[in-house]
């Protein structure tokens, strides 16, 4: 992970390191910290592609307001990864377009 190694003012206290899965690849991040931050630390910059023009989108506002960082997390599309805490074993996928919403459990995504 590309983390700040030394800082004149700040000390970073992280919780446990956990592994998660991004598009089939195993990655590490810190439990409870936003998914978007873990991805960025792992060098992942593209989080989704837009519905019409297939433009790449990534991190942008970091406060859950802009929708740029929507991804599919554990099968749920349009998850605001900048404010969604990372959990061990999470399955995070690049989102294409609007994503399919599961209305009922078991319905195909």
């Amino acid at each position: 992970m590309d983390l700040i190694s030394s800082h004149p003012v700040l000390n970073f206290e992280h919780r446990a390191k956990v592994s998660f899965c991004f598009d089939g690849k195993e990655m590490e991040g810190f439990e409870g910290e936003p998914i978007a931050m873990a991805l960025h630390a792992n060098g992942v910059k593209i989080y989704r592609y837009t519905p019409e023009r297939k433009r790449p989108r990534g991190f942008f506002c970091a406060i859950g307001k802009c929708s740029s960082c929507f991804m599919v997390v554990d099968g749920v599309p349009n998850v605001r990864t900048c404010v969604t805490p990372l959990k061990r074993g999470m399955k995070v996928e690049t989102q294409s377009g609007r994503g399919a919403i599961k209305l009922f459990p078991g319905e195909g995504a």
Binding site: M1, I4, H40
Partner: protein
């Protein structure tokens, strides 16, 4: 759907919201704080610099330490203040006086507050240029969160757009984190932020290019550089564009109030350029034209955290007082004086003009 009741719902757990909650709970009200992010403290948690202003408002203390002091104050309120994190207020239904809240991404609940203090803060502005949507073009505040809260290196080489306080401070903090800042561009013919912040980055050799702006972000999948231009008197590009190498472009081009809930609540709003957007009319106690809704902080005009905290205290006290909890007039006077002092002088002039434009003497009895 699950439903919660509370005396006062505080929307947003930043400096304004926490101050409002502490004050309202301090005189006896039960308070629920709904915070969209994963922690309390709002944008204070990423401010690693020491604040200016007045000792009463923690001048000389670093932002993240102010956040800790406010969280401690909330903790001392005990059961009177309940906090919900990762909870976004998504709608307000005036007919039923009910708000809907989303916990995480999929769970919805209803909250039925007797009164509400909206302290939902602000969001960063975007400026138009080709490719401004590709990864690597980030809000400056977002980059600050990435590096100062989570310790993640945001990039190797950053181009900063905007030499206001946020652009200058974040540039300095990028260098503290070991990241190179190629240049700071500013469209205006002068630096917008405080001289002391500009001096710090200049001492480290970062050029501040006045009358310059970004013409295009380069890269297909993520930023690989930028084309920048000098601007003429009318802010049109002049001369041939210059190529700048960078992997990150930070936009520090201003904030705008996150006022959606106030619109929904039917609050009378006015566009005030000095307050950076549409803001509600208010009385001296921070009440809106809706008798059940107060406001505090950046949502009622972009200012500094110091002002947000005092506005929060006034709003929290006033909302609690409207429910019959006892407040002395001296307390209101004390906070109003502190706010006035904070806005004194040349720096506060635009805020003073803006605020006076939307402050009313009182509301009609039936409003």
């Amino acid at each position: 759907m699950k439903e919660l009741n509370t005396d006062i719902l505080v929307v947003g757990g930043g400096p304004a919201g926490l101050s409002a909650a502490a004050e309202a709970a301090g005189i006896g009200a039960n308070v629920l704080i709904a915070e969209g992010d994963l922690h309390l403290g709002g944008q204070l948690v990423k401010q690693s610099h020491k604040f200016f202003g007045s000792k009463d408002e923690f001048a000389g203390t670093r932002g993240f330490e102010i956040a800790r002091l406010l969280r401690d104050e909330i903790a001392r309120c005990g059961d009177r203040v309940k906090t919900m994190l990762n909870t976004t207020i998504t709608g307000y239904y005036p007919d039923e006086n009910v708000v809907t809240a989303m916990i995480g991404e999929e769970e919805y609940i209803r909250v039925r507050p007797k009164k509400m203090v909206v302290a939902s803060g602000a969001q960063e502005r975007l400026i138009p240029f080709p490719n401004n949507d590709i990864p690597g073009v980030y809000g400056a505040g977002a980059v600050q969160t990435l590096m100062n809260v989570y310790g993640v290196v945001p990039g190797k080489k950053v181009l900063m757009i905007g030499a206001g306080n946020i652009g200058l401070i974040v540039s300095y903090q990028l260098m503290q984190a070991g990241v190179e800042v190629t240049a700071i561009l500013e469209a205006m013919p002068r630096i917008g932020g405080y001289w002391v912040h500009a001096a710090k980055v200049r001492r480290l050799g970062v050029p501040i290019l006045l009358r310059h702006s970004i013409g295009r972000a380069l890269g297909d999948n993520f930023v690989t550089g930028a084309l920048i231009n000098e601007l003429d008197e009318k802010f049109n590009p002049t001369g041939s564009p210059e190529h700048v190498e960078c992997d990150t472009i930070c936009l520090a081009v201003g904030l705008t109030p996150s006022n959606e809930l106030l619109w929904q609540a039917g609050c009378k709003m006015k566009y005030v350029p000095f307050l950076c957007g549409h803001v509600p009319l208010r009385d001296k106690n921070m009440r809106t034209s809706n008798a059940g809704v107060w406001m505090a902080g950046d949502v009622c005009g972009i200012e500094e955290a110091s002002a947000a905290m005092i506005e929060g205290r006034i709003a929290g006290m006033s909302a609690a007082a409207s429910l019959g909890f006892k407040v002395s007039d001296d307390n209101f006077e004390k906070y109003r004086l502190r706010l006035k002092n904070l806005r004194a002088g040349e720096v506060g002039e635009k805020i003073r003009i803006g605020v006076s434009d939307v402050t009313v003497d009182g509301w009609e009895a039936n409003s």
